[in-house]
Symmetry: C2
Subunit: 526 residues, 2 copies
C-alpha cells in the first residue's frame, strides 16, 4: 500500500539564512535543522518574493509574484479570486491547516461586496489564508488586536497567567531579577528573559499544537503549515535559551556605519527610521542579537521534537518537509534594521526541502546553488501531492526536478526576482511619494544584483567580487551595459507575468481561428 503523502511546511518569521549553522553561522548551532538539511537539500540561493511579511507570504501561499497578487503591505487583503495552497490541495483529498501565523487574510468588506455568506466554508478560512485555522495566532497581539478567539492568549490565561493580555505582558515581556516586567515593545527589554516558562512560550505551544494536528489527522493526507512567529520581534526569549548567548556570540556587523550606497535617497531614508538608528548601535545589537539567537535555538529544539514525533509515528518517509522563512532581518548590517530592502541579509531566506521519495535519494545532504523563489513552493506541493500545476496562474517552478537529480533542469531560471513596496513604511512620508511610486525590484543573476527603483537611481552589485554588497555600481557609467541588460530582463519578466488568470492553460494554449470556428464564429473569410 502506498503511504499517504503528507506535507509539513515550516516557516519561521524574520529568520536570516545565515543564522543557521548549516548555512554557516559560527556561534549558533542548530543541529536539528542541520539534520533536516542532511536529510534533504539545502538551497543556498533562495530568495523571498518580497522582504516583508504579508507580501512574502502571499507569494508563498499563491505561487505568484507580488506584482500579480497585489499584496504589497502588511494590511492588504488577499483578493477574492486568488487561489491559495488549500485551494490546490484540498481537491486532492488533503486536509490543509495552519498552526501559527499566516498574515494572509481576505477582507470581510470584499466578501460582503459580492454577497459571500460569512458563515460559508470560504469565509471560515478567509482570515487564515485559506488554511483551516487549526491553531491560528498571528504573532502580534497588542491590546487593540486582542479578541475572544485568540487561542494562545486563552491558553495562557487558562494555565494561570491571569493578565488581560498575557501575550503582551508575559510571553512578550522580559522580567528582571527583581521580578519587574519590561515590555518587549522596547528593544532594551531583550536584556531580560521572558516572563513565562519555556513550555508556555509561543514556540513550544505552537509545536505541541502541530503535533495535535497530526495526531488529529490519521486518515487523510495532510498539509500542515507550521508557522512560527519567532524570531520575529518582540525579541523576548525564555530561559534556558535566553542565557545560552551573550554579546560575545554576536558576529560583526556588515558595513555597520552605513557607508555603502550612502548617496542613494531610498537607502539613506531607511537609515533614518527609528528601527535602523536603533540597530545601528552596537550596544543595541549586543543586547538584541543574543535574544534573537536564543529564539532560533529554541525553534531548532522544537523542530527536533517534531521530527522525532514523525519518526516515532513512522511518518518521516512519507512526509515532504520544507523549512524556510518569509524574509530575513538587517540586524544593524548596513546601518539598517528590519527588512524591506534587498541586501541578502534581508531578501535571502533559508530553504531546506526534504523529499521522502526514493528518487530524491541521489540529492540527500547536498547543497544547491540554483535560484529558488518562494513562488516555487506551491507547484512543488501540488506536484508532490499528485496534482496538476495550474500553469496559467502559478508563476513558480516545481522543485521536484532539482530534488530528484543532481543536474540543473533544463530551462531553470537564471535570474531571481524580489519586489518591494515601501509605501507603508516611514520612508514614503520622508520622501513625500505617492504610494504606488514606492516600488523597487531586485534582479539577481549569478554575477550581479541589480535593483530598480521607480523614480530613484538604480543599484548594482558585483556579487562575485563584492558578496557583501559594499560597492554600489548603480550610477557608475562603466556598468551601463550591465544595467541595461538587467533592466531589459526586468522589463520582459514584468510584461510576461501571469496577470491573466481567467482561463486554464490548456484552453489558452489551444486558442486560434479553429477554436473560433468550432463555436460558429468565422472571422474575415471571403
Amino acid at each position: 500500500m502506498t503511504k499517504r503523502k503528507n506535507i509539513l511546511f515550516i516557516m519561521c518569521d524574520q529568520l536570516r539564512q545565515d543564522y543557521l549553522s548549516c548555512y554557516g553561522h559560527r556561534t549558533l548551532h542548530t543541529p536539528n535543522i542541520d539534520a533536516l538539511a542532511a536529510l534533504g537539500v539545502r538551497f543556498d540561493n533562495a530568495y523571498c518574493q518580497s522582504p516583508l511579511c504579508a507580501p512574502s507570504r502571499a507569494s508563498f501561499y499563491s505561487g505568484r509574484y507580488q506584482a500579480n497578487h497585489g499584496i504589497m503591505g502588511n494590511d492588504d487583503a488577499i483578493q477574492l479570486g486568488e487561489k491559495l495552497i488549500a485551494d490546490y490541495l484540498n481537491p486532492l483529498g488533503y486536509r490543509t491547516a495552519v498552526v501559527g501565523k499566516t498574515h494572509a487574510r481576505r477582507s470581510p468588506e470584499d466578501m460582503r461586496a459580492v454577497g459571500i455568506d460569512p458563515e460559508s466554508e470560504f469565509a471560515r478560512t478567509a482570515a487564515s489564508g485559506g488554511f483551516e485555522p487549526f491553531e491560528w495566532h498571528e504573532g502580534l497581539c497588542p491590546d487593540l488586536f486582542l479578541s475572544e478567539d485568540h487561542g494562545y492568549s486563552n491558553y495562557l490565561r487558562e494555565i494561570g497567567y491571569a493578565d488581560t493580555n498575557p501575550w503582551d505582558t508575559r510571553a512578550n515581556s522580559g522580567v528582571d531579577k527583581d521580578g519587574k516586567l519590561h515590555s518587549g515593545w522596547a528593544l532594551r527589554s531583550s536584556a531580560y528573559p521572558a516572563a513565562i516558562e519555556e513550555k508556555h512560550s509561543e514556540t513550544a505551544y505552537t509545536t505541541r499544537r502541530a503535533i495535535d494536528f497530526i495526531r488529529d489527522t490519521p486518515d487523510r493526507p495532510w498539509c500542515l503549515h507550521l508557522s512560527y512567529i519567532k524570531p520575529h520581534w518582540p525579541v523576548i526569549a525564555p530561559e534556558p535559551y535566553f542565557s545560552m548567548f551573550s554579546k560575545d556570540d554576536v558576529q560583526p556587523a556588515i558595513d555597520p556605519n552605513g557607508l555603502s550606497s550612502s548617496d542613494h535617497p531610498v537607502i539613506e531614508c531607511f537609515r533614518k527610521l527609528e528601527y535602523s538608528e536603533s540597530y545601528a548601535r552596537q550596544d543595541v545589537r549586543d543586547v538584541v542579537i543574543p535574544a534573537y539567537m536564543a529564539l532560533i535555538k529554541q525553534i531548532d529544539d522544537h523542530v527536533g521534537n517534531l521530527i522525532n514525533y514523525l519518526q516515532k509515528e513512522n511518518l518521516l518517509d512519507s512526509t515532504m518537509i520544507v523549512l524556510t522563512a518569509d524574509h530575513g532581518d538587517y540586524l544593524g548590517d548596513y546601518a539598517l534594521g528590519e527588512k524591506d530592502l534587498f541586501h541578502d541579509v534581508s531578501a535571502k531566506i533559508p530553504m531546506i526541502v526534504v523529499d521522502p521519495d526514493r528518487y530524491a535519494d541521489v540529492t540527500r545532504g547536498t547543497t544547491r546553488t540554483e535560484f529558488v523563489e518562494s513562488v516555487d513552493i506551491v507547484p512543488t506541493f501540488v506536484e508532490y501531492a499528485g496534482g496538476t500545476v495550474a500553469r496559467e496562474r502559478i508563476e513558480g517552478q516545481s522543485l521536484t526536478h532539482i530534488l530528484r537529480s543532481p543536474e540543473t533542469p533544463d530551462g531553470w531560471r537564471t535570474f531571481a526576482v524580489s519586489e518591494t513596496d515601501y509605501s507603508e513604511r516611514g520612508a514614503r512620508a520622508l520622501l513625500d511619494l505617492e504610494p504606488n511610486h514606492c516600488r523597487a525590484t531586485m534582479i539577481r543573476s549569478d554575477k550581479w544584483k541589480y535593483v530598480h527603483y521607480v523614480g530613484f537611481p538604480e543599484q548594482l552589485f558585483d556579487m562575485e567580487n563584492d558578496p557583501n554588497e559594499l560597492n554600489d555600481l548603480g550610477i557608475n557609467s562603466e556598468y551601463e551595459s550591465v544595467r541595461a541588460e538587467m533592466r531589459n530582463y526586468l522589463l520582459n519578466w514584468r510584461l510576461a507575468l501571469k496577470s491573466r488568470v481567467g482561463l486554464d492553460a490548456d484552453v489558452l494554449e489551444g486558442f486560434g481561428p479553429e477554436q473560433d470556428e468550432r463555436n460558429g464564429i468565422i472571422i474575415g473569410r471571403w
Copy 2:
C-alpha cells in the same frame, strides 16, 4: 432645483476614428455625431487601452489598465474583486444599465468557488459587466450561443421572423435580388443588403430600447451604456443605408501591400491570418467597406434620434454624453484585417464628450490634442456624478479639467499606453509561443510611437514626420536613445501601476510609524 445629472455612454464596436466626418472622413457624413462634437469636445488623440473587445471594455468599465484587470482575450472573465462603473455610480443613487453589448462577464465558476449565491444581486449583473441588463445582447449569436433569454432574437421571432436563429439567418445575412440568403459570416455577403427591415435591425432596436430605459427611469439619475454592436462584423447593412455607399466611396488603403514593418515577425504573422489576407484584397475592400460605412451612417441617424428625444424631454442640459469605440479596424490598411495591433487605425478611437455643465461652455465645439485613454471614462463619470474617485484603484484621470478649461491641466499625461495580448489570435500558434509571451505594449508620445514586444524586436515610428507609420525605426541604430527613453518610460509606468487595491488611498497615504504606534505596535525602539 438642481437637475439630476444623467450619463449617456455610447459605444460603437470596431468603429475607426477616421470613419466619422468630424474626424475627417471625406465620403461618409455623420452630421449627428458631428453635432455632438460641436456641442462638446472632440479628442483627437484618444487611445483604447487594448485593441480587442473584452480587454478594451474591461478598461473602459474599470478605469484600469489591462495589465491590472488581467482581461487579455475575449474569453476572459472579469475578476471578482474588480470594481466596475455600476459599483461606483450605484452607491451615488444612480441606476446604471446597459442596452446592447458589454463583453465583460464574471465567471460562474469563480462565483461558485467562493460561495456567491447565483440568485444574488451581484450574480444578477455578473454576466453584463455589472450593468443592469436592461437590454443586453452581446452582438454575437451563432447557433451555439443562442439562449432562451436572447432578447433581440426573441424580438425578431415575435415580430414574425420565424427562423430558429433570426439574428444569424436574417439580421446578419444578406439577401440577393432573387431572395436568396447569404450568411454574414462570409465577407462576400456584404455585397447584399440585410435580410431584414431597417427598423428591425440591431441598431434600430437597440436605440429604441435605450429610449425605453430613459423613459423607465424618470425618478433617479441614470447612467445608460448604449453599446452598439455595429459596425463590428458581420458587416451586413440594411436598406436604405446599404445603397448609400459604393466602391467609389472607399478611401485608398494605407500601405495596401504591407511593405512597412515587413521584417517584423509578429506583424508578418498577423498578415498571414485569413482575415488579413482577405482585407488585403482591393476587391474585398470594395465590397465590405461600403457596408461598413452604411452601418456607421445608420448609427449616426439613430444617435440623432436619441439626441432629439433627450432634447424633447428636456434632458440634454443635464446629461453628460460620451461617444466612443472599443477599438478601430485595419480594413486592409498595412495588409492587415481586424485589430489587435497598434497602428492608429486600430488603437486610436473616436472620443467625443459633451459635458452639460456651464463651466464647460468655454470648450464647446473645440478639439483637443491631449492624450486621452479609455481608463479616463470611469473617473470622469464619478466626478460628474459628485463622487470621489478611488485613487488607489482608478488609473485614469478625470476629463473634467480638460472639459472645463482650454488649458491643459497640470500633470496631464504626456504618453498614452495601449497593451495587447495576442495569445487568443492565430499568431500565437504560428509563432509557437507560450500564451503569456504573446504581449506587446505601445507607448505614444507627441513625436514617437514605440511598441515593445516580449521576445521580438521593438517598433518605432516618428509620428510627426511619418504619421502613416510607414517607416519602422525599431531596429535602426540611430534611434537607440529614443527607444531607450521609451523603454524606460514603459518600465516605470508598468512598475508603478495600481496593482495593489486592498486599501483606500487615504489609508495608504497615511501610513507610517505613527500609524503602527496608534495600533500599539512599536518597531525597533530602544
